[in-house]
């Protein structure tokens, strides 16, 4: 019995641990690894590919590789030799076609597909469809160009098939130039250091987190306390109102902010009565709106937790204070706030970390603009780099680097907060043996 019981923690922890490990922990580790790669949408993520293309040859030419060798690498030769004819017989071309080709074209060599096709067109049993002509071309072509090799060995065999034998160091150069998949690099980190905008984005992030946090926690506390002293109907109403932004889809919520701030929107309309010219207020004061939009969403969570914490304060404690003739303000300051130290700390911690990694509302509101990264925060920059680029090429490796930097800061802050939380007390020893 004792032995079986001792497995209980394992069974209790296992499902959650597996899920977190699979979709959170291992991905975090992999992201760290990716930050040292050139991975992007044009390198692909899986598998290796070696292709000799026009670009490869151009690159090699620039690095001073032997011109005759490059000529050979780029060539496409169509030869009706024994091997080629054998391949033709195996294709699904009509036997009559293959027979005539073997009779009339055996031994002929063509240097371009066009010439080959012209020769084919003069046959009596000519391959009529493009597909059949291509079939001939594919059977007899000797080329390396634009062929895809999965491994270095295949690539070596491919070189041999067009009669190229090179020294090992030249082969390594060729292999490197033909490699289409991602490579190991530390350049992501050096690029980050070299960019003038890194510091700006960092400062933006600190600014955004600090002010939004201030707004969030301040309003959460204000609402929690105010609704505590209100009749139940009113407090329910205000809490519900402040929850609406949180449960709204972000596109709708942001659309409403834009409606509020645009030059034909609500603010301009109201200010119009005071003689203020209509203005696109969002572009004029982007940070104000970024912080407000995020603050109104974020306050609801703190509000709920604080409100429930106030409710949880035993009423005789408050009652006693009231009998002593303390005013509400004193009640709040002397009794409620000290008792709320923990929830305030929790919310502050939690919101700091959430805000550092959040970007969705900024993305929809200003998209980091206007201008040079005016409201671009770190997480949004990671998103822009790794996941969203109108013109397609997403830089996963660089995005991973940005994420790694963020998690570094996150870990440091978490450790700090854990210390404040008195972590040891959190993990107090169980009072029953398993």
């Amino acid at each position: 019995m004792e032995r079986i019981r001792s497995y209980l923690p394992l069974w209790f922890m296992l499902p959650a641990s597996v899920a977190v490990a699979l979709f959170f922990l291992i991905p975090v580790f992999m992201t760290f690894v990716f930050s040292f790669t050139t991975m992007s949408s044009d390198t692909g993520i899986l598998g290796s590919r070696y292709v000799v293309s026009d670009d490869t040859i151009r690159t090699l030419k620039g690095s001073g590789m032997d011109a005759a060798l490059l000529e050979k690498l780029g060539s496409r030769i169509f030869t009706f030799d024994e091997a080629g004819l054998a391949a033709l017989r195996k294709s699904n071309l009509k036997p009559a076609v293959v027979k005539e080709i073997a009779e009339k074209l055996s031994g002929k060599v063509y240097t371009s597909e066009k010439k080959l096709f012209n020769a084919l067109k003069r046959l009596n049993n000519r391959p009529r469809s493009f597909k059949d002509r291509k079939s001939v071309s594919r059977s007899i072509v000797q080329t390396l160009k634009n062929r895809e090799f999965k491994t270095a060995e295949e690539f070596r065999a491919g070189l041999a098939s067009i009669g190229v034998e090179v020294a090992e160091d030249v082969f390594e150069n060729l292999l490197d130039a033909a490699n289409m998949s991602w490579k190991w690099t530390t350049s992501n980190y050096s690029e980050l250091m070299a960019s003038d905008f890194t510091g700006k984005i960092l400062a933006n992030t600190a600014f955004y987190v600090f002010f939004t946090l201030f707004f969030n926690v301040g309003f959460a506390l204000l609402l929690a306390l105010a609704t505590f002293y209100m009749p139940s109907g009113q407090s329910k109403f205000f809490r519900a109102v402040w929850l609406i932004p949180r449960v709204s889809p972000s596109v709708i919520y942001i659309m409403l902010w834009r409606w509020l701030s645009f030059d034909n929107g609500f603010m301009s309309y109201v200010l119009g009565f005071f003689g203020v010219e209509p203005e696109n207020w969002l572009n004029e004061y982007p940070w104000t709106f970024v912080i407000f939009a995020n603050g109104f969403v974020g306050a609801s969570m703190g509000m709920i937790i604080f409100a429930s914490a106030v409710v949880a304060i035993p009423s005789d404690v408050l009652h006693a204070a009231e009998v002593d003739g303390a005013y509400k303000w004193q009640q709040i300051r002397r009794i409620i706030l000290p008792l709320m130290a923990w929830p305030i700390l929790f919310i502050t911690t939690y919101q700091t970390l959430s805000l550092m990694t959040s970007f969705e509302y900024i993305l929809l509101l200003t998209d980091g603009g206007p201008g040079f990264f005016t409201t671009e925060v770190w997480a949004l920059n990671a998103y822009h780099t790794a996941l969203s680029n109108y013109f397609g090429n997403l830089r996963y490796g660089f995005g991973a680097t940005l994420a790694v930097m963020l998690v570094g800061v996150g870990i440091a802050m978490s450790l700090l907060y854990l210390r404040l939380f008195d972590f040891k007390k959190l993990v107090a020893e169980p009072q029953i043996e398993n």
Binding site: S40, S41, D42, T43, G44, I45, L46, R49, V51, S53, D54, D55, R58, F130, K131, K134, N146, E148, M180, E191, A194, S195, D196, F197, R258, F262, D263, N264, E279, N280, L282, N283, E284, T366, D367, G369, P370, G371, F372, F373, T374, H384, L387, S388, N389, Y390, F391, G392, N393, L394, R395
Partner: protein
């Protein structure tokens, strides 16, 4: 046997009989960014499927294709997701057989090995591709191969509100001659600013409405770089992108002047709502502006501008001054065959695309969405020829340019755009914006861009 049992037996027999009646059915899945007006991005392939099945019947083949409509997602955010989903899906051996992408996706997906080059599977020298507008081929090519077939074409014209032009002294004949003057370089961006100012000073439009550019970020803005002297974006010889400092300065300076010197464009224009924008330009609330050929559908249908040709002049984007030339951007979408397709599926996908590119089928999309056609013969298809807009706007295609097919384009584009918004509304001088962009590009993409 009761009647009920009989019917059940009949239904069962019918059910079992169905799969055996047909021979090999091959499913071809298509993904496309397609909303209601652009449904023919899919539907053309579906219609082509019917034709292909008849052809296969005649050829005596047992194979039949079934075209399956997959993910459709349009708009810039949605489209980015569609592309991202495609990349990952094909890497995992899933996703569609045919995708409609932008031509700028060709280098990225080609490089990652996600697509088959179409030139290997269909004869580009045969009908209908033999009849394609020749300027479209380079846009479909990358790294020495032709990868896709254009699905549509378009251009991004410059527009003016005729009644306002008349009010500042243009005669009907002047207006009629304006497109040619733009093309020959006699009417430049400088004239645009001056006319916009005149229109505004006359009180015809409100302040900031003289020149009314596109509402959001987009490739369109590259036009104002391309019309400058030396405004090249790509060096075919080295395969690298080009950033011309002089052209970049001219481009930033134009928008900076429009806002600060002439006051004909709003400082906080970018990021406004499209609904408002369309409504305003289609009702004469703006003097001069630029848009896309597909805007015609919106102006004339939803915004009710029925006398478009009386009210609106359209032309190329005027030259940026001496040494520059008028042009317009074309951004064709393209049918691409993904690596999800294997063996026979590739051939069938290529045949579907070929049939869907026939003038009559392609015209359905052109008319329904007010895009331009891809072949010369299309201009003779009655539906196309009878449509005054497509017929006249097609002429702009001859002077059009496209964004370069380069894997580095996205990073380059992002930076140049940021520079524009800084010079426009960020309180940065055009020269400083150019310097910042150049410096950042030297720091982060030195080996990918030629800065001159």
């Amino acid at each position: 046997m009761s009647f009920k049992r009989l019917t059940m037996a009949a239904v069962a027999a019918g059910l079992f009989a169905l799969p055996t009646a047909q021979a090999a059915e091959i499913e071809i899945e298509v993904w496309a960014p397609a909303d209601k007006n652009e449904r023919y991005r899919f539907e053309a392939i579906t219609l082509a499927g019917n034709v292909l099945n008849e052809e296969l019947k005649i050829e005596g083949s047992d194979t039949r294709v079934v075209v399956k409509k997959g993910t459709s997602f349009s708009g810039s955010q949605g489209w980015a997701q569609l592309k991202q989903g495609f990349s990952l899906a094909v890497e995992a051996g899933k996703g569609p057989h045919i995708i409609v992408g932008g031509h700028e996706d060709i280098p990225v997906w080609g490089s990652a090995g996600l697509i088959h080059p179409i030139e290997d599977y269909t004869d580009l020298e045969a009908w209908p591709f033999s009849d394609l507008f020749p300027s479209l081929w380079p846009i479909m090519s990358w790294n020495g191969q032709v990868w896709g077939a254009p699905q549509d074409a378009e251009s991004r014209p410059f527009f003016a509100w005729n009644p306002h032009l008349k009010a500042i002294g243009y005669s009907d004949a002047d207006i009629a001659a304006l497109p040619d003057k733009v093309k020959s370089g006699q009417y430049t961006l400088q004239n645009v600013l001056e006319d916009a100012k005149k229109i505004q000073d006359k009180g015809l439009v409100e302040k900031g409405y003289g020149f009314y550019p596109r509402a959001t970020k987009g490739g369109d803005y590259w036009q104002f770089y391309a019309v400058q002297k030396g405004g090249d974006m790509y060096d075919p010889k080295s395969g690298k992108l080009i950033l011309d400092k002089g052209a970049l300065l001219g481009y930033y300076q134009f928008f900076n002047d429009a806002v600060y010197k002439y006051g004909v464009t709003k400082k906080n224009h970018i990021g406004m709502e499209w609904d408002q924008w369309y409504n305003e330009v289609a009702n004469g609330k703006a003097g001069l502006w630029h848009g896309g050929t597909w805007h015609y559908a919106r102006y004339t249908r939803r915004e009710g501008l029925t006398d478009f040709f009386d009210k609106v002049m359209f032309s190329l984007i005027p030259s940026g001054g001496s040494g520059g030339k008028a042009t317009t951007l074309t951004h064709p979408l393209t049918y691409l065959i993904s690596k999800r397709a294997k063996g026979e599926e590739i051939e069938l996908a290529a045949r579907l695309i070929t049939i869907a590119s026939e003038p009559r089928l392609n015209t359905l999309h052109a008319i329904a969405s007010a895009h331009l056609g891809i072949t010369k013969a299309q201009t003779k298809v009655s539906q196309y020829a009878d449509d005054r807009w497509t017929a006249e706007a097609t002429a702009l295609l001859q002077s059009a340019f496209a964004l370069p097919n380069s894997t580095d384009f996205g990073q380059y584009d992002t930076l140049v755009w940021k520079g524009l918004t800084a010079a426009w509304s960020g309180g940065v001088s055009p020269q400083d914006a150019v310097n910042t962009v150049v410096k950042e590009m030297q720091a982060t993409m030195a080996d990918k861009v030629i800065i001159r």
